[in-house]
């Protein structure tokens, strides 16, 4: 049984050592599985574009190095770049029903990965290494330079140490015992 399943599995899986469960499910589903060959003629392109819910003019096949079969090459549009005023089927993700998607489009927790543009980042490219390395280094250097300084503790003198020939007093009246010790 396992042999049959392995034969029925898409050869697209062969080049990917670790695929996400969702991708694996899609590729192993006969209804959702992409075609093996890139369409050449206009008729084939029209059929494939209809399969992917696109118009033939928009359809571009994926680069064969991705081993995606006849899947379309889609330029991903970031969530923040989609218009919030459009009547989306899924306003939460700003997507339409049966819309062709980039394979990383659904990664909502890493939206900046799609269409990475450093000009749109909340920080400058040099700020990250600065925060990660330069600031801690400066703090460490300051600590090394000024860490051993004995800061004065107001309002007080240095703590009294028991040494030879050092007499310290309290603010109480002397008792008979303390007088004897003094003698």
């Amino acid at each position: 049984m396992s042999v049959i399943i392995r034969l029925n599995r898409s050869s697209l899986c062969a080049h990917h050592t670790s695929l996400k469960t969702a991708h694996r499910t899609i590729l192993n589903n006969r209804d959702w599985r992409p075609g093996h060959f890139i369409p050449k003629t206009d008729e084939e392109i029209a059929a494939v574009a209809k399969k992917y819910n696109m118009i033939p003019e928009d359809y571009k096949p994926l680069d064969p190095k991705h081993s995606g079969g006849d899947m379309p090459d889609i330029t991903p549009v970031q969530y923040v770049d989609r218009s919030p005023w459009e009547d989306w089927d899924y306003p939460n993700t700003r997507q339409h029903y049966n819309e062709p998607k980039h394979r990383y489009e659904g990664v909502r927790w890493d939206r900046y990965r799609i269409y990475y543009d450093p000009n749109k980042l909340p920080y400058k490219p040099w700020q990250k290494p600065f925060l990660l390395m330069v600031l801690p280094a400066t703090f460490y250097i300051i600590h090394c330079l000024f860490g051993d300084i004995k800061w004065p503790y107001y309002p007080s003198f240095d703590p009294q140490r028991v040494e030879e020939n050092a007499v310290h007093y309290t603010f109480e009246k002397p008792t008979a015992e303390s007088r004897e010790i003094l003698r």
Binding site: P155, P159, Q160, V162, Y169, T170, K173, P174, S178
Partner: protein, 145 residues
């Protein structure tokens, strides 16, 4: 201690105690009956023999010694076993530290008192000089007339 205190301490160092120098006045000045002396639990030689760290060779060294012994007894699970000893040590340290703070306050007040006395003496001296000068001028004027 705010910034005003720090600036004033920098501009008038004679008004405030010098922490590095320690108390400068006679410890028995103003105590006609004398003062009670602090008694150390160990002599310096005993502390060296008991291997008490240099930072802890003060008037609470016996409490610190108790903590050392407790830790040696209950290792490796001495956590929270020696809390009574630690508490006693900190209470002792508090009282010991309070005397030093009182010494600081005494030093500060005596310094201000010394400044006040000096000012009073100077003022009297200046008044005497001024009166002499005025008397001389009056004499000259009367002679001219």
């Amino acid at each position: 201690m705010g910034l005003g205190y720090s600036i004033d301490r920098y501009r008038h160092p004679e008004k405030y105690p010098n922490i590095e120098a320690g108390p400068t006045f006679d410890p028995l000045y103003g105590f006609p009956e004398g003062r009670k002396t602090k008694t150390s639990p160990y002599t310096p030689e005993e502390m060296a023999r008991l291997s008490i760290p240099l930072d802890h060779r003060d008037y609470c060294a016996h409490y610190y010694r108790a903590i050392m012994l407790c830790y040696a007894e209950y290792q490796p699970r001495a956590y929270r076993y020696c809390n009574p000893e630690k508490h006693a040590y900190h209470e002792c340290l508090k009282e010991d530290r309070l005397d030093v703070i009182k010494e600081h306050e005494r030093e500060r007040r005596l310094r201000l008192r010394r400044i006040r006395k000096d000012e009073k003496e100077n003022r009297e001296k200046r008044m005497v000089e001024l009166n002499d000068r005025l008397a001389l001028e009056n004499e000259h004027q009367s002679n001219d007339i």
